[in-house]
Symmetry: C2
DNA sequence: CGGCACTTTGAGAGTGTTCAAGGAAGGTGG
DNA sequence: CCACCTTCCTTGAACACTCTCAAAGTGCCG
């Protein structure tokens, strides 16, 4: 992890991502399930924090590592995942700017966190938050709310994995993404087909064919593999079932 | 919901279930992820509570209902699930005696809770817990811990649904159950094949065939469809991967 | 322009689902 | 206590969907 505290680091980030950040930080706690350490709280946070930038596909922490820090994403995208003995990988969630991740209740992280693309992250000391929570009912309520909303998200994911076909899974994934996108018709995917496959419990080939299927039904357009235009968001939502 | 406050109601419950309860309540918060309102805390809980018994397949609350109460299971088994428009059902979790369920952060329940078999349940007022949590850092920490452990459970479930074959899913399900069973070699399943199928994201036929497969490999024995003996727990665990 | 990683496409195999029928278990009434 | 009925579970065969393996196409970067 290369540590950077200069303003130059921020300049590296591309502008569209910046726009997303501004939007999320501004709206703060209301819009982002996973964002509870927002600008307002941050000022009163007595935690020693550092900010750093990572390129893509870099591990932030590994499953089983001691959970001393937790993180907030500023720019880019992060995934949390589990690796199985049979070589498979299950991605649990993708995090967008403003989201908090890596906060645990046990001694260890129970997932691995990696950057999807070049990302900027703030780290916080977990102990500092715990102290804060015991002194402030507001913070403890927010922490509880954070955990419960993460829970709801994980439960939705389980429904997605358990009850849907490949095309339905992809349609659900895209509509979910669109809900967090500034221009909801145009999506630019930061993650690879492999990432999507491992999130949806499919193979990359099946994901690719599902994209093809959506294009054939003219629900979406692909200018490149990662630039998607939602031609018929309502039609997509019908597949969400 | 028929309300019962007499000792007679308890006598209805069969003895083996009673034994499970005694074990779980005694060990309390440590052993049961979802048990935080245990005997020790209960005495100091100023919540107005009622206890009632339901027969099997009865709804305790529905998805979208106002979440005024939450519950603790005393005897029997409860499932939480989601119904999709296409008629499918995804079971999110099974709850054992001692487990707490139905505690929400939003205004509404976001799952449906039903009894799997005849069950005895205690209800609590959510507001009372909230008051307690704001006054006691201990309670708020326990609430947070409860939520985070539920989260870890849901994430495990997502891995189960995303990365495993039918036989692996069933093997994982059985070993998980065995971990909570007093005599871990003998399992008596309270839930139907349909319940298991909807929990594992399979059909009942596939579940049945998976059972057959485990019998063929002499990892388990079925005296009846719901009475299982684990002949080779370690062999099962290898399938857990 | 070439090389590399990612994505798409195709064909065949495998796994789980669907549809259908038979069998076992539990509950009820005679 | 037995017969019947209903519900649940199992088994079989054909089918659909996804996976696997293989190869070709695309875009990106040096």
């Amino acid at each position: 992890m290369q540590m950077e505290n200069t303003a130059a680091a921020l300049a590296i980030a591309d502008q569209s991502a910046e726009a997303i950040v501004r939007r999320h930080i501004a709206v703060g706690i209301e819009i982002q399930n996973l964002c509870f350490v927002n600008e307002r709280y941050q000022r009163s946070l007595p935690v020693a924090m550092s900010t750093f930038t990572l390129s893509g596909d870099k591990e932030i922490y590994g499953k089983g590592e001691e959970a001393v820090l937790f993180f907030k994403l500023v720019l880019g995208m992060v995934r949390t995942c589990t690796f199985l003995k049979n070589g498979r990988r299950q991605i649990d969630a993708f995090y967008l700017p403003g989201n908090v991740f890596g906060l645990e209740v046990g001694a260890e992280h129970n997932l691995t966190a990696e950057t999807v693309c070049r990302s900027r992250v703030i780290s916080y000391r977990r102990r500092d938050l715990e102290v804060l929570a015991t002194n402030s009912e507001r913070f403890s309520a927010v922490a509880f709310s954070f955990a419960m909303q993460s829970l709801a998200r994980a439960q939705e994911h389980a429904v997605l994995l358990g009850c849907r076909s490949a095309v339905e899974k992809l349609a659900t994934f895209l509509t979910d993404l669109a809900a967090y996108s500034p221009k909801s018709e145009m999506l630019s995917l930061e993650m690879s087909r492999r990432d999507i496959a491992d999130y949806l419990g499919l193979t990359i080939e099946t994901v690719s064919r599902a994209f093809g299927h959506l294009v054939d039904k003219s629900l979406i357009d692909l200018s490149t593999a990662r630039q998607i235009r939602l031609k018929d968001p309502e039609g997509l939502r019908l597949l969400t079932s």
